[in-house]
Protein backbone atom coordinates (compact mmCIF):
# COMPACT_ATOMS: atom_id res chain seq x y z
CA UNK A 1 0.00 0.00 0.00
CA UNK A 2 2.73 2.32 1.02
CA UNK A 3 4.63 1.60 -2.19
CA UNK A 4 1.56 2.26 -4.33
CA UNK A 5 1.11 5.52 -2.52
CA UNK A 6 4.73 6.44 -3.19
CA UNK A 7 4.40 5.64 -6.87
CA UNK A 8 1.00 6.94 -7.77
CA UNK A 9 0.00 9.59 -5.24
CA UNK A 10 2.82 11.15 -3.29
CA UNK A 11 4.82 12.48 -6.29
CA UNK A 12 1.82 14.32 -7.67
CA UNK A 13 0.90 15.71 -4.29
CA UNK A 14 4.46 17.03 -4.03
CA UNK A 15 4.24 18.60 -7.48
CA UNK A 16 1.04 20.43 -6.68
CA UNK A 17 2.21 21.44 -3.21
CA UNK A 18 5.42 23.04 -4.51
CA UNK A 19 4.85 24.20 -8.09
CA UNK A 20 7.92 26.44 -7.97
CA UNK A 21 10.11 23.42 -7.27
CA UNK A 22 8.42 21.53 -10.12
CA UNK A 23 9.30 24.42 -12.43
CA UNK A 24 12.89 24.28 -11.22
CA UNK A 25 13.08 20.57 -11.99
CA UNK A 26 11.54 21.08 -15.42
CA UNK A 27 13.97 23.90 -16.22
CA UNK A 28 16.96 21.76 -15.33
CA UNK A 29 15.52 18.91 -17.36
CA UNK A 30 15.08 21.27 -20.30
CA UNK A 31 18.70 22.41 -20.12
CA UNK A 32 20.15 18.91 -20.22
CA UNK A 33 17.52 17.91 -22.78
CA UNK A 34 18.69 20.67 -25.13
CA UNK A 35 22.25 19.45 -24.86
CA UNK A 36 21.26 15.83 -25.48
CA UNK A 37 19.34 16.96 -28.52
CA UNK A 38 22.38 18.83 -29.79
CA UNK A 39 24.63 15.79 -29.52
CA UNK A 40 21.98 13.55 -31.05
CA UNK A 41 21.77 15.98 -33.99
CA UNK A 42 25.44 15.41 -34.69
CA UNK A 43 24.76 11.67 -34.92
CA UNK A 44 21.66 12.12 -37.07
CA UNK A 45 23.37 14.39 -39.60
CA UNK A 46 26.19 11.97 -40.23
CA UNK A 47 23.89 8.98 -40.26
CA UNK A 48 21.49 10.60 -42.71
CA UNK A 49 24.11 11.52 -45.22
CA UNK A 50 26.30 8.44 -45.02
CA UNK A 51 24.50 5.71 -43.02
CA UNK A 52 27.42 5.72 -40.62
CA UNK A 53 26.74 5.48 -36.93
CA UNK A 54 29.45 7.83 -35.75
CA UNK A 55 30.87 6.41 -32.57
CA UNK A 56 33.42 9.24 -32.51
CA UNK A 57 30.85 11.99 -31.86
CA UNK A 58 31.59 11.91 -28.10
CA UNK A 59 35.33 12.18 -28.45
CA UNK A 60 34.88 14.99 -30.97
CA UNK A 61 33.16 16.94 -28.20
CA UNK A 62 36.14 16.36 -25.90
CA UNK A 63 38.66 17.06 -28.62
CA UNK A 64 37.00 20.33 -29.61
CA UNK A 65 36.82 21.49 -25.99
CA UNK A 66 40.43 20.48 -25.32
CA UNK A 67 41.66 22.27 -28.43
CA UNK A 68 39.85 25.44 -27.45
CA UNK A 69 41.20 25.42 -23.90
CA UNK A 70 44.65 24.38 -25.09
CA UNK A 71 44.87 27.17 -27.68
CA UNK A 72 43.78 29.73 -25.12
CA UNK A 73 46.40 28.44 -22.67
CA UNK A 74 49.01 29.25 -25.32
CA UNK A 75 48.04 32.88 -24.94
CA UNK A 76 45.67 33.24 -27.89
CA UNK A 77 42.61 35.41 -27.17
CA UNK A 78 39.45 33.44 -26.45
CA UNK A 79 37.44 34.29 -29.57
CA UNK A 80 40.36 33.77 -31.90
CA UNK A 81 40.82 30.39 -30.22
CA UNK A 82 37.23 29.57 -31.09
CA UNK A 83 37.83 30.39 -34.74
CA UNK A 84 41.08 28.42 -34.78
CA UNK A 85 39.32 25.48 -33.14
CA UNK A 86 36.72 25.57 -35.90
CA UNK A 87 39.64 25.45 -38.33
CA UNK A 88 41.00 22.40 -36.53
CA UNK A 89 37.59 20.71 -36.71
CA UNK A 90 37.51 21.43 -40.44
CA UNK A 91 40.92 19.90 -40.95
CA UNK A 92 39.73 16.92 -38.91
CA UNK A 93 36.66 16.55 -41.15
CA UNK A 94 38.79 16.69 -44.30
CA UNK A 95 41.27 14.15 -42.92
CA UNK A 96 38.57 11.75 -41.80
CA UNK A 97 36.94 11.88 -45.23
CA UNK A 98 40.26 11.50 -47.05
CA UNK A 99 41.95 8.90 -44.87
CA UNK A 100 39.09 6.89 -43.41
CA UNK A 101 35.85 7.25 -45.36
CA UNK A 102 37.00 7.47 -48.96
CA UNK A 103 38.88 4.16 -49.01
CA UNK A 104 35.89 2.51 -47.34
CA UNK A 105 33.18 3.72 -49.74
CA UNK A 106 30.71 0.96 -50.48
CA UNK A 107 31.80 -1.23 -47.55
CA UNK A 108 29.13 -2.64 -45.22
CA UNK A 109 27.87 -0.29 -42.52
CA UNK A 110 29.46 -2.29 -39.73
CA UNK A 111 32.93 -1.71 -41.18
CA UNK A 112 32.39 2.03 -41.28
CA UNK A 113 31.11 1.84 -37.72
CA UNK A 114 34.28 0.04 -36.66
CA UNK A 115 36.28 2.72 -38.44
CA UNK A 116 34.63 5.39 -36.29
CA UNK A 117 35.69 3.43 -33.19
CA UNK A 118 39.19 3.62 -34.61
CA UNK A 119 38.81 7.39 -35.00
CA UNK A 120 37.70 7.56 -31.35
CA UNK A 121 40.78 5.72 -30.10
CA UNK A 122 43.02 7.81 -32.30
CA UNK A 123 41.55 11.08 -31.04
CA UNK A 124 41.86 9.96 -27.41
CA UNK A 125 45.54 9.25 -27.98
CA UNK A 126 46.15 12.43 -29.94
CA UNK A 127 44.31 14.53 -27.36
CA UNK A 128 46.36 13.10 -24.51
CA UNK A 129 49.66 13.58 -26.31
CA UNK A 130 48.96 17.20 -27.19
CA UNK A 131 46.94 18.44 -24.24
CA UNK A 132 47.62 15.93 -21.46
CA UNK A 133 45.06 13.89 -19.59
CA UNK A 134 44.31 16.11 -16.62
CA UNK A 135 41.10 17.97 -15.95
CA UNK A 136 40.86 21.53 -17.27
CA UNK A 137 38.66 24.53 -16.73
CA UNK A 138 36.50 25.71 -19.61
CA UNK A 139 37.34 29.32 -20.44
CA UNK A 140 33.76 30.43 -19.89
CA UNK A 141 34.54 33.85 -18.46
CA UNK A 142 36.92 34.69 -21.29
CA UNK A 143 34.26 33.74 -23.82
CA UNK A 144 31.87 36.09 -22.09
CA UNK A 145 29.51 33.39 -20.89
CA UNK A 146 27.64 35.07 -18.03
CA UNK A 147 27.78 33.64 -14.56
CA UNK A 148 25.42 34.36 -11.72
CA UNK A 149 21.71 33.72 -11.72
CA UNK A 150 18.28 35.23 -11.90
CA UNK A 151 15.90 34.46 -9.05
CA UNK A 152 12.21 34.43 -9.84
CA UNK A 153 9.45 34.03 -7.36
CA UNK A 154 6.50 32.31 -8.96
CA UNK A 155 3.57 31.77 -6.56
CA UNK A 156 5.70 33.18 -3.77
CA UNK A 157 8.17 30.33 -4.21
CA UNK A 158 11.68 30.25 -5.58
CA UNK A 159 13.01 29.58 -9.09
CA UNK A 160 16.71 29.96 -9.78
CA UNK A 161 17.83 30.29 -13.38
CA UNK A 162 21.58 30.07 -13.90
CA UNK A 163 22.69 32.57 -16.54
CA UNK A 164 24.97 29.89 -17.94
CA UNK A 165 21.98 27.64 -18.52
CA UNK A 166 19.97 30.41 -20.14
CA UNK A 167 22.87 31.09 -22.51
CA UNK A 168 23.24 27.42 -23.33
CA UNK A 169 19.57 27.04 -24.15
CA UNK A 170 19.61 30.23 -26.22
CA UNK A 171 22.67 29.24 -28.24
CA UNK A 172 21.41 25.71 -28.77
CA UNK A 173 18.03 26.94 -30.01
CA UNK A 174 19.70 29.35 -32.45
CA UNK A 175 22.10 26.66 -33.68
CA UNK A 176 19.37 24.08 -34.19
CA UNK A 177 17.17 26.65 -35.94
CA UNK A 178 19.98 27.66 -38.26
CA UNK A 179 20.76 24.05 -39.02
CA UNK A 180 17.16 23.26 -39.87
CA UNK A 181 16.95 26.29 -42.16
CA UNK A 182 20.20 25.29 -43.84
CA UNK A 183 19.01 21.73 -44.43
CA UNK A 184 15.58 22.70 -45.66
CA UNK A 185 16.04 25.86 -47.67
CA UNK A 186 19.45 25.72 -49.34
CA UNK A 187 20.73 23.65 -52.23
CA UNK A 188 23.57 22.27 -50.09
CA UNK A 189 21.13 21.25 -47.40
CA UNK A 190 19.02 19.52 -49.99
CA UNK A 191 22.11 17.74 -51.26
CA UNK A 192 22.84 16.46 -47.75
CA UNK A 193 19.34 15.10 -47.38
CA UNK A 194 19.39 13.69 -50.90
CA UNK A 195 22.63 11.82 -50.37
CA UNK A 196 21.15 10.00 -47.40
CA UNK A 197 18.16 8.90 -49.46
CA UNK A 198 19.86 7.51 -52.55
CA UNK A 199 23.56 7.60 -53.39
CA UNK A 200 23.14 6.72 -57.04
CA UNK A 201 20.51 9.33 -57.68
CA UNK A 202 22.59 11.87 -55.78
CA UNK A 203 25.56 11.22 -58.06
CA UNK A 204 23.36 11.60 -61.12
CA UNK A 205 22.34 15.12 -60.17
CA UNK A 206 25.93 16.16 -59.62
CA UNK A 207 26.32 15.75 -55.88
CA UNK A 208 29.85 14.92 -54.84
CA UNK A 209 29.99 12.39 -52.03
CA UNK A 210 33.30 13.75 -50.82
CA UNK A 211 32.21 17.38 -50.54
CA UNK A 212 29.06 16.49 -48.66
CA UNK A 213 30.85 14.17 -46.27
CA UNK A 214 33.42 16.80 -45.39
CA UNK A 215 30.64 19.32 -44.91
CA UNK A 216 28.61 17.03 -42.68
CA UNK A 217 31.56 16.03 -40.52
CA UNK A 218 32.47 19.69 -40.19
CA UNK A 219 28.95 20.55 -39.07
CA UNK A 220 29.17 17.67 -36.58
CA UNK A 221 32.47 19.27 -35.45
CA UNK A 222 30.78 22.64 -34.92
CA UNK A 223 28.06 20.96 -32.89
CA UNK A 224 30.76 19.14 -30.92
CA UNK A 225 32.47 22.43 -30.11
CA UNK A 226 29.27 24.09 -28.92
CA UNK A 227 28.38 21.07 -26.81
CA UNK A 228 31.92 20.92 -25.48
CA UNK A 229 31.81 24.56 -24.40
CA UNK A 230 28.39 24.22 -22.81
CA UNK A 231 29.09 21.00 -21.00
CA UNK A 232 32.67 21.91 -20.17
CA UNK A 233 31.48 25.09 -18.51
CA UNK A 234 29.41 23.03 -16.10
CA UNK A 235 31.57 19.98 -15.54
CA UNK A 236 35.10 20.90 -16.57
CA UNK A 237 36.94 19.64 -19.62
CA UNK A 238 38.18 16.07 -19.38
CA UNK A 239 37.96 12.83 -21.27
CA UNK A 240 35.03 11.89 -19.02
CA UNK A 241 32.96 14.28 -21.15
CA UNK A 242 32.92 11.61 -23.81
CA UNK A 243 30.35 9.78 -21.71
CA UNK A 244 27.68 12.38 -22.46
CA UNK A 245 27.73 11.16 -26.04
CA UNK A 246 26.38 7.87 -24.80
CA UNK A 247 23.54 9.83 -23.29
CA UNK A 248 22.59 10.58 -26.86
CA UNK A 249 22.07 6.88 -27.57
CA UNK A 250 18.69 6.58 -25.85
CA UNK A 251 17.74 9.86 -27.52
CA UNK A 252 18.50 8.29 -30.88
CA UNK A 253 16.59 5.14 -29.99
CA UNK A 254 13.62 7.28 -29.06
CA UNK A 255 13.84 9.67 -31.96
CA UNK A 256 15.07 7.36 -34.65
CA UNK A 257 18.44 7.74 -36.33
CA UNK A 258 17.12 9.51 -39.41
CA UNK A 259 14.91 12.14 -37.93
CA UNK A 260 16.10 15.61 -37.03
CA UNK A 261 12.80 16.42 -35.39
CA UNK A 262 13.10 13.12 -33.58
CA UNK A 263 16.51 14.03 -32.19
CA UNK A 264 15.21 17.34 -30.88
CA UNK A 265 12.02 16.00 -29.33
CA UNK A 266 13.75 12.85 -28.11
CA UNK A 267 16.46 14.90 -26.42
CA UNK A 268 13.95 17.14 -24.66
CA UNK A 269 11.81 14.18 -23.62
CA UNK A 270 14.75 12.35 -22.09
CA UNK A 271 16.13 15.43 -20.38
CA UNK A 272 12.78 16.29 -18.82
CA UNK A 273 11.66 12.79 -17.91
CA UNK A 274 14.90 11.69 -16.32
CA UNK A 275 14.96 14.77 -14.10
CA UNK A 276 11.32 14.35 -13.11
CA UNK A 277 11.79 10.66 -12.40
CA UNK A 278 14.93 11.26 -10.37
CA UNK A 279 13.38 13.88 -8.14
CA UNK A 280 9.88 12.53 -7.63
CA UNK A 281 10.32 8.76 -7.88
CA UNK A 282 14.00 7.88 -7.92
CA UNK A 283 15.13 9.64 -4.76
CA UNK A 284 12.19 8.75 -2.50
CA UNK A 285 11.78 5.15 -3.65
CA UNK A 286 15.09 3.96 -5.08
CA UNK A 287 17.52 6.13 -3.18
CA UNK A 288 18.44 8.32 -6.13
CA UNK A 289 21.07 8.15 -8.87
CA UNK A 290 18.53 6.97 -11.42
CA UNK A 291 19.64 9.47 -14.05
CA UNK A 292 22.41 7.16 -15.24
CA UNK A 293 20.03 4.46 -16.38
CA UNK A 294 16.52 5.89 -16.63
CA UNK A 295 16.93 7.10 -20.22
CA UNK A 296 17.97 3.65 -21.39
CA UNK A 297 15.00 1.97 -19.73
CA UNK A 298 12.66 4.52 -21.29
CA UNK A 299 14.20 3.89 -24.69
CA UNK A 300 13.88 0.16 -24.20
CA UNK A 301 10.19 0.47 -23.45
CA UNK A 302 9.63 2.62 -26.54
CA UNK A 303 11.53 0.16 -28.69
CA UNK A 304 9.30 -2.66 -27.49
CA UNK A 305 6.35 -0.95 -29.09
CA UNK A 306 7.96 1.00 -31.91
CA UNK A 307 11.14 -0.68 -33.13
CA UNK A 308 11.88 2.17 -35.53
CA UNK A 309 11.77 4.76 -32.74
CA UNK A 310 9.14 7.42 -32.31
CA UNK A 311 10.04 9.31 -35.47
CA UNK A 312 12.15 6.84 -37.40
CA UNK A 313 11.47 5.80 -40.94
CA UNK A 314 8.98 3.03 -41.03
CA UNK A 315 10.49 0.34 -43.15
CA UNK A 316 7.93 -0.89 -45.63
CA UNK A 317 9.07 -3.69 -47.82
CA UNK A 318 7.12 -3.83 -51.04
CA UNK A 319 7.14 -7.20 -52.69
Amino acid sequence: MDLLNQIFIAPFVDMVAAPDFLLQVLWEGLVSGVLYALIALGFVLIYRSSRIFNFAQGIMVVFAALTLVGLHAMGIPAWISVILTLGVMFVLAVSIERIVLRPLVGQPDIILFMATIGITLFLIGLGEIIFGGENKQMISAELGIPTGDTVLEPWGGLLILQHLDITVVGVAVVLVGALLAFLNYTQMGRAIRALGDDHQAALSVGISLQTIWVLVWFIAGIIALVTGIAWGARAGVSFALEVIAYKALPVLMLGGLESITGAIIGGLMIGLSEKLFEIYWGQPILGGNTETWFAFVLALIVLLFRPQGLFGERIIERV
Binding site: D197, A201, S204, G206
Partner: protein, 270 residues
Amino acid sequence: MKDSQGYVTADGRQIGGVLMEMKNITLKFGGVTAISDISFDVREGEIRAIIGPNGAGKSSMLNVISGFYTPTVGEVWYKGAKRPPMKPYEVARMGVARTFQNIALFEGMSVLDNVMTGRLTHMNASIPAQALWWGPARAEEMENREKVEKVIDFLEIQAIRKTPVGRLPYGLKKRVELARALAAEPSILLLDEPMAGMNVEEKEDMSRFILDVNDEFGTTICLIEHDMGVVMDLSDRVVVMDYGKKIGDGTPDEVRGNQDVIDAYLGVPH
Protein backbone atom coordinates in the same frame (compact mmCIF):
# COMPACT_ATOMS: atom_id res chain seq x y z
CA MET B 1 21.73 11.29 -95.02
CA LYS B 2 24.42 11.93 -92.41
CA ASP B 3 27.01 14.66 -92.65
CA SER B 4 28.76 17.02 -90.29
CA GLN B 5 25.98 19.55 -90.72
CA GLY B 6 23.32 17.16 -89.49
CA TYR B 7 20.18 16.10 -91.30
CA VAL B 8 16.49 16.82 -91.55
CA THR B 9 14.07 14.31 -90.08
CA ALA B 10 10.98 12.91 -91.76
CA ASP B 11 8.79 15.35 -89.83
CA GLY B 12 11.00 18.26 -90.84
CA ARG B 13 13.08 18.89 -87.71
CA GLN B 14 16.65 20.04 -88.26
CA ILE B 15 19.16 17.81 -86.48
CA GLY B 16 22.54 19.34 -85.69
CA GLY B 17 26.12 18.10 -85.55
CA VAL B 18 27.57 15.36 -83.38
CA LEU B 19 27.12 16.09 -79.67
CA MET B 20 28.44 12.88 -78.22
CA GLU B 21 30.34 10.09 -79.83
CA MET B 22 31.15 6.65 -78.46
CA LYS B 23 34.28 5.25 -80.06
CA ASN B 24 34.96 1.51 -79.90
CA ILE B 25 33.58 1.10 -76.41
CA THR B 26 34.32 -2.20 -74.70
CA LEU B 27 33.26 -2.89 -71.13
CA LYS B 28 34.32 -5.98 -69.20
CA PHE B 29 33.44 -7.13 -65.71
CA GLY B 30 36.08 -9.71 -64.89
CA GLY B 31 35.61 -12.36 -67.56
CA VAL B 32 32.23 -11.10 -68.73
CA THR B 33 32.11 -8.77 -71.67
CA ALA B 34 29.06 -6.57 -71.31
CA ILE B 35 29.80 -4.37 -74.31
CA SER B 36 32.20 -5.20 -77.08
CA ASP B 37 33.55 -2.65 -79.50
CA ILE B 38 30.53 -0.43 -80.01
CA SER B 39 30.63 2.93 -81.74
CA PHE B 40 27.81 5.33 -82.39
CA ASP B 41 27.06 9.02 -82.13
CA VAL B 42 24.32 11.19 -80.75
CA ARG B 43 23.50 14.37 -82.63
CA GLU B 44 22.30 17.68 -81.34
CA GLY B 45 18.52 17.83 -81.01
CA GLU B 46 17.75 14.25 -81.94
CA ILE B 47 16.01 11.47 -80.07
CA ARG B 48 18.38 8.55 -80.16
CA ALA B 49 17.26 5.14 -78.92
CA ILE B 50 19.27 2.13 -77.84
CA ILE B 51 17.26 -1.05 -78.08
CA GLY B 52 17.92 -4.73 -77.74
CA PRO B 53 16.75 -7.85 -75.93
CA ASN B 54 17.35 -8.45 -72.22
CA GLY B 55 21.02 -8.55 -71.26
CA ALA B 56 22.11 -6.89 -74.49
CA GLY B 57 24.17 -4.33 -72.57
CA LYS B 58 21.90 -1.33 -73.06
CA SER B 59 21.92 -0.20 -69.44
CA SER B 60 25.67 -0.75 -69.25
CA MET B 61 26.04 1.54 -72.24
CA LEU B 62 23.95 4.22 -70.55
CA ASN B 63 26.08 3.84 -67.43
CA VAL B 64 29.20 4.37 -69.51
CA ILE B 65 27.73 7.54 -70.99
CA SER B 66 26.75 8.88 -67.56
CA GLY B 67 30.06 7.98 -65.98
CA PHE B 68 28.83 5.28 -63.60
CA TYR B 69 31.05 2.79 -65.47
CA THR B 70 34.42 3.51 -67.00
CA PRO B 71 34.87 1.66 -70.29
CA THR B 72 37.66 -0.94 -70.36
CA VAL B 73 38.59 0.14 -73.89
CA GLY B 74 37.33 3.01 -76.00
CA GLU B 75 36.71 6.72 -75.82
CA VAL B 76 33.77 8.95 -75.12
CA TRP B 77 33.80 12.20 -77.08
CA TYR B 78 31.59 14.95 -75.83
CA LYS B 79 31.09 18.36 -77.43
CA GLY B 80 34.05 17.79 -79.71
CA ALA B 81 36.55 16.79 -77.04
CA LYS B 82 37.67 13.49 -75.62
CA ARG B 83 36.27 13.04 -72.15
CA PRO B 84 38.78 11.88 -69.52
CA PRO B 85 37.62 9.25 -67.02
CA MET B 86 35.20 11.03 -64.70
CA LYS B 87 33.10 10.48 -61.63
CA PRO B 88 29.33 10.42 -62.26
CA TYR B 89 28.81 13.73 -60.48
CA GLU B 90 31.41 15.38 -62.69
CA VAL B 91 29.68 14.04 -65.79
CA ALA B 92 26.41 15.40 -64.43
CA ARG B 93 27.99 18.83 -64.05
CA MET B 94 28.99 18.73 -67.72
CA GLY B 95 25.33 18.71 -68.67
CA VAL B 96 24.46 15.02 -68.77
CA ALA B 97 21.28 14.25 -66.84
CA ARG B 98 19.69 10.85 -66.48
CA THR B 99 16.87 8.78 -65.08
CA PHE B 100 17.10 5.23 -63.83
CA GLN B 101 15.38 2.00 -64.76
CA ASN B 102 14.38 1.32 -61.15
CA ILE B 103 13.58 4.93 -60.26
CA ALA B 104 16.17 6.54 -58.02
CA LEU B 105 14.41 9.40 -56.27
CA PHE B 106 14.91 10.86 -52.83
CA GLU B 107 11.93 9.15 -51.26
CA GLY B 108 11.86 11.11 -48.04
CA MET B 109 11.80 14.49 -49.75
CA SER B 110 8.90 16.32 -51.37
CA VAL B 111 8.44 16.42 -55.13
CA LEU B 112 9.52 20.05 -55.16
CA ASP B 113 12.71 19.31 -53.20
CA ASN B 114 13.48 16.39 -55.47
CA VAL B 115 13.19 18.54 -58.56
CA MET B 116 15.22 21.28 -56.85
CA THR B 117 18.14 18.87 -56.45
CA GLY B 118 18.23 18.83 -60.24
CA ARG B 119 19.44 22.43 -60.06
CA LEU B 120 22.51 21.48 -58.02
CA THR B 121 24.64 21.48 -61.15
CA HIS B 122 23.81 25.16 -61.56
CA MET B 123 24.78 26.11 -58.05
CA ASN B 124 27.50 28.72 -57.91
CA ALA B 125 27.16 30.33 -54.49
CA SER B 126 29.69 29.13 -51.95
CA ILE B 127 28.65 26.94 -49.04
CA PRO B 128 29.16 29.67 -46.41
CA ALA B 129 27.11 32.08 -48.52
CA GLN B 130 24.34 29.52 -48.64
CA ALA B 131 24.57 28.80 -44.95
CA LEU B 132 24.16 32.49 -44.22
CA TRP B 133 21.40 32.87 -46.83
CA TRP B 134 23.49 35.71 -48.13
CA GLY B 135 22.73 37.92 -51.17
CA PRO B 136 23.91 35.96 -54.23
CA ALA B 137 22.94 32.61 -52.72
CA ARG B 138 19.48 33.91 -52.08
CA ALA B 139 19.08 35.30 -55.58
CA GLU B 140 20.30 32.00 -56.96
CA GLU B 141 17.79 30.06 -54.89
CA MET B 142 14.99 32.26 -56.22
CA GLU B 143 16.13 31.82 -59.79
CA ASN B 144 16.43 28.05 -59.38
CA ARG B 145 13.00 27.96 -57.87
CA GLU B 146 11.56 29.77 -60.87
CA LYS B 147 13.11 27.35 -63.35
CA VAL B 148 11.92 24.40 -61.31
CA GLU B 149 8.38 25.71 -61.22
CA LYS B 150 8.45 25.90 -65.01
CA VAL B 151 9.48 22.27 -65.29
CA ILE B 152 6.85 21.22 -62.76
CA ASP B 153 4.27 23.10 -64.77
CA PHE B 154 5.45 21.55 -68.00
CA LEU B 155 5.22 18.00 -66.71
CA GLU B 156 1.88 18.68 -65.06
CA ILE B 157 2.84 17.68 -61.54
CA GLN B 158 1.77 20.92 -59.80
CA ALA B 159 -0.85 19.10 -57.78
CA ILE B 160 1.71 16.92 -56.01
CA ARG B 161 4.45 19.52 -55.46
CA LYS B 162 4.47 19.14 -51.69
CA THR B 163 3.85 15.39 -51.52
CA PRO B 164 6.70 13.19 -50.27
CA VAL B 165 7.82 11.13 -53.23
CA GLY B 166 7.59 7.87 -51.31
CA ARG B 167 3.81 8.17 -51.37
CA LEU B 168 3.41 8.55 -55.12
CA PRO B 169 2.33 5.83 -57.52
CA TYR B 170 4.86 4.40 -59.94
CA GLY B 171 3.88 6.34 -63.05
CA LEU B 172 4.08 9.68 -61.25
CA LYS B 173 7.45 8.80 -59.74
CA LYS B 174 8.79 8.25 -63.23
CA ARG B 175 7.52 11.68 -64.18
CA VAL B 176 9.12 13.29 -61.12
CA GLU B 177 12.40 11.65 -62.03
CA LEU B 178 12.12 13.10 -65.52
CA ALA B 179 11.37 16.49 -63.97
CA ARG B 180 14.49 16.32 -61.82
CA ALA B 181 16.63 15.48 -64.84
CA LEU B 182 15.01 18.28 -66.88
CA ALA B 183 15.52 20.83 -64.14
CA ALA B 184 19.25 20.49 -64.76
CA GLU B 185 18.68 21.91 -68.27
CA PRO B 186 20.90 19.17 -69.62
CA SER B 187 22.68 19.20 -72.97
CA ILE B 188 21.86 15.53 -73.21
CA LEU B 189 19.14 13.66 -71.37
CA LEU B 190 19.56 9.93 -70.77
CA LEU B 191 16.42 7.92 -70.10
CA ASP B 192 16.77 4.35 -68.89
CA GLU B 193 13.55 2.55 -69.83
CA PRO B 194 11.28 5.53 -69.20
CA MET B 195 8.20 3.41 -69.86
CA ALA B 196 9.10 0.20 -68.07
CA GLY B 197 6.22 -1.13 -66.02
CA MET B 198 3.69 1.41 -67.26
CA ASN B 199 0.23 0.79 -68.62
CA VAL B 200 -0.79 1.95 -72.08
CA GLU B 201 -2.19 5.25 -70.92
CA GLU B 202 0.90 6.10 -68.86
CA LYS B 203 3.10 5.13 -71.80
CA GLU B 204 1.20 7.51 -74.06
CA ASP B 205 1.60 10.30 -71.52
CA MET B 206 5.30 9.65 -71.18
CA SER B 207 5.83 9.51 -74.95
CA ARG B 208 4.08 12.83 -75.28
CA PHE B 209 6.28 14.36 -72.58
CA ILE B 210 9.45 13.06 -74.21
CA LEU B 211 8.45 14.48 -77.59
CA ASP B 212 7.42 17.77 -75.98
CA VAL B 213 10.69 18.06 -74.10
CA ASN B 214 12.62 17.50 -77.29
CA ASP B 215 10.43 19.94 -79.18
CA GLU B 216 10.08 22.69 -76.61
CA PHE B 217 13.58 22.79 -75.09
CA GLY B 218 15.44 21.25 -78.02
CA THR B 219 16.94 18.76 -75.59
CA THR B 220 18.96 15.95 -77.08
CA ILE B 221 17.60 12.67 -75.75
CA CYS B 222 19.19 9.26 -75.63
CA LEU B 223 16.86 6.56 -74.39
CA ILE B 224 16.72 2.86 -73.78
CA GLU B 225 13.41 1.16 -74.28
CA HIS B 226 11.99 -2.30 -74.50
CA ASP B 227 8.69 -1.46 -76.11
CA MET B 228 9.43 -1.61 -79.84
CA GLY B 229 6.29 0.20 -80.87
CA VAL B 230 7.06 3.15 -78.66
CA VAL B 231 10.69 3.32 -79.75
CA MET B 232 9.93 3.30 -83.43
CA ASP B 233 7.38 6.10 -83.01
CA LEU B 234 9.58 8.27 -80.84
CA SER B 235 13.09 8.09 -82.10
CA ASP B 236 14.92 9.62 -85.01
CA ARG B 237 17.69 7.03 -85.06
CA VAL B 238 18.08 3.69 -83.33
CA VAL B 239 21.08 1.62 -82.22
CA VAL B 240 20.32 -2.07 -81.83
CA MET B 241 22.41 -4.15 -79.43
CA ASP B 242 22.49 -7.88 -78.83
CA TYR B 243 24.89 -9.80 -76.59
CA GLY B 244 26.99 -6.68 -76.14
CA LYS B 245 27.46 -6.10 -79.86
CA LYS B 246 25.96 -3.54 -82.18
CA ILE B 247 23.85 -5.27 -84.78
CA GLY B 248 22.05 -2.34 -86.31
CA ASP B 249 22.07 1.45 -86.52
CA GLY B 250 19.83 3.76 -88.47
CA THR B 251 16.39 5.24 -88.78
CA PRO B 252 13.52 3.16 -87.39
CA ASP B 253 12.60 2.03 -90.88
CA GLU B 254 16.13 0.94 -91.74
CA VAL B 255 16.42 -0.95 -88.47
CA ARG B 256 13.07 -2.62 -88.89
CA GLY B 257 14.19 -4.16 -92.17
CA ASN B 258 17.54 -5.36 -90.80
CA GLN B 259 17.69 -9.18 -90.77
CA ASP B 260 20.03 -9.35 -87.74
CA VAL B 261 17.63 -7.24 -85.76
CA ILE B 262 14.68 -9.38 -86.69
CA ASP B 263 16.64 -12.49 -85.72
CA ALA B 264 17.67 -11.02 -82.37
CA TYR B 265 14.12 -10.15 -81.48
CA LEU B 266 12.60 -13.38 -82.72
CA GLY B 267 15.30 -15.42 -81.01
CA VAL B 268 17.26 -17.21 -83.70
CA PRO B 269 19.83 -19.53 -82.04
CA HIS B 270 23.32 -18.00 -81.90
